[in-house]
C-alpha cells in the first residue's frame, strides 16, 4: 500500500522551458532560409490562368519577369485607363522597352549563364493575346527565346 501513496505529497515538477528558445530558433532559421522577399511592387492586376501540364521554373536567379495586366487599383485606372499594360521591374513600360530590358537583364548575369536566361510572362487572365504577341515578337528580336507562360497549378 505504502508503495503507491509515496508520491502524493510531492509537487508536480514544472516543465522546463529551457529548450524553448532552441525550438524557436530552429523554426526561425527555417523561415529565414526559405523566405523570398518580394522585390517588385505590383502595378498591374495579376491573376494567373490555370493549367495542369506545368513545369517548375528552376533557378529563380535566371528568370526575368514581365507582368501584363490592367492597372491595379482605382487611382491608377483613372490615371492610365483600363487597357492592359506592361510592367517591367517597378514601373510601367512600353512594348518597345523590352529589348533594352532583356539586354539589361543579361548584363547583370555572368556570361556563361546568359543562354540559360528564361523570361517568365506573367499575364492576367483578362489580357488579350494582341499585347502578348507583340511582346513575344520583341523577345524574338532580343534573342530571348526561352519563355515560360506563368500559370497556377490546377487543383484536381
Amino acid at each position: 500500500m505504502s508503495k503507491f501513496k509515496k508520491n502524493t505529497n510531492k509537487k508536480l515538477a514544472p516543465i522546463s522551458t529551457a529548450s524553448l528558445p532552441d525550438i524557436v530558433f530552429m523554426l526561425l532559421f527555417f523561415f529565414m532560409v526559405t523566405t523570398v522577399m518580394r522585390e517588385t511592387e505590383m502595378l498591374v492586376e495579376n491573376i494567373l490562368p490555370q493549367a495542369t501540364e506545368v513545369k517548375k521554373l528552376e533557378r529563380k536567379s535566371l528568370v526575368s519577369y514581365i507582368y501584363i495586366g490592367a492597372p491595379k487599383g482605382k487611382n491608377r485606372k483613372g490615371k492610365y485607363g483600363t487597357e492592359a499594360k506592361l510592367q517591367l521591374n517597378d514601373s510601367y513600360a512600353k512594348v518597345a522597352d523590352i529589348q533594352s530590358f532583356v539586354i539589361a537583364e543579361r548584363e547583370t548575369r555572368a556570361e556563361e549563364e546568359v543562354p540559360l536566361l528564361t523570361t517568365s510572362i506573367k499575364a492576367d487572365v483578362n489580357v488579350k493575346m494582341g499585347i502578348v504577341s507583340d511582346i513575344k515578337q520583341e523577345l524574338r528580336k532580343a534573342q530571348a527565346y526561352k519563355i515560360n507562360y506563368s500559370t497556377r497549378k490546377d487543383e484536381k
Binding site: L20, P21, M129, R140, Y145, K146, Y149, T151
Partner: protein, 178 residues
C-alpha cells in the same frame, strides 16, 4: 586586487525566446512559399520564319488549330470544344498513316496554332495546356510500353529517346488583326 576575484554576473537569457519569437513572426509573415510554375516554350528564331507548307509539302501532317477573338476553337476547319482538343490532337499525332486525313507519323506531325489579337490569354493558355497534355500523354504511353515506367521518372537518355519519338512541334503563326 579584490576585484579580480569577483565572478562575472551571468546574462539573463530569459528574454531570448521572446526575441526569437519576434523574428520568427516577422519571417513567417513575409514568407511566400509559392514556386513558380508555368508552361515552357521556345520561340522560333526570327529569320527562320518560313511557310510551314514549304517545309512539309503535305497538308495531312499539319493540324490546324485556330482560336478566334470570341475564344471559339476551329480545328481542321471544324468547330471543336476545348474538351475534345486533347483527344483530337492525340488521334492526329498517333495516326501513323492509318487515316489519310491525319498525320503520317508523330515525327512529321506539326500542330499549327493561330490566334487572333482579340483572343483572351486564358483561352490561349488552355489551348496550349491541352496540346501539351496530348504530347505528355503520348510520351507517357510510349514510356510505359517501352520501359514499363512513367516518362517523368525515366533517366535522361531514355527521356530523350521518347522525346524523339514524339517531338513537340507546335508552330505559331502571326495572329490575325482583329
Amino acid at each position: 586586487m579584490a576585484r579580480s576575484n569577483r565572478s562575472i554576473p551571468e546574462i539573463n537569457a530569459g528574454s531570448m525566446a521572446d526575441i526569437a519569437f519576434l523574428l520568427l513572426i516577422f519571417f513567417l509573415v513575409t514568407t511566400t512559399m509559392d514556386v513558380d510554375t508555368g508552361i515552357s516554350r521556345k520561340l522560333p528564331v526570327l529569320d527562320e520564319e518560313q511557310e510551314i507548307e514549304d517545309m512539309q509539302g503535305n497538308d495531312r501532317n499539319i493540324y490546324e488549330v485556330y482560336v478566334n477573338n470570341k475564344d471559339a476553337l476551329l480545328v481542321e476547319e471544324e468547330e471543336m470544344n476545348i474538351d475534345n482538343l486533347r483527344e483530337g490532337a492525340k488521334k492526329f499525332l498517333n495516326n501513323n498513316g492509318r487515316d489519310p486525313k491525319l498525320s503520317d507519323n508523330p515525327e512529321k506531325a506539326i500542330i499549327s496554332l493561330q490566334n487572333s489579337r482579340g483572343t483572351s490569354y486564358e483561352m490561349y493558355i488552355s489551348v496550349q495546356n491541352e496540346l501539351t497534355a496530348a504530347y505528355n500523354e503520348l510520351r507517357d504511353e510510349a514510356a510505359l510500353k517501352k520501359y514499363n515506367s512513367n516518362y517523368s521518372v525515366l533517366p535522361k537518355d531514355k527521356k530523350k529517346e521518347i522525346r524523339k519519338m514524339y517531338p513537340m512541334k507546335i508552330s505559331e503563326a502571326e495572329p490575325f488583326k482583329q
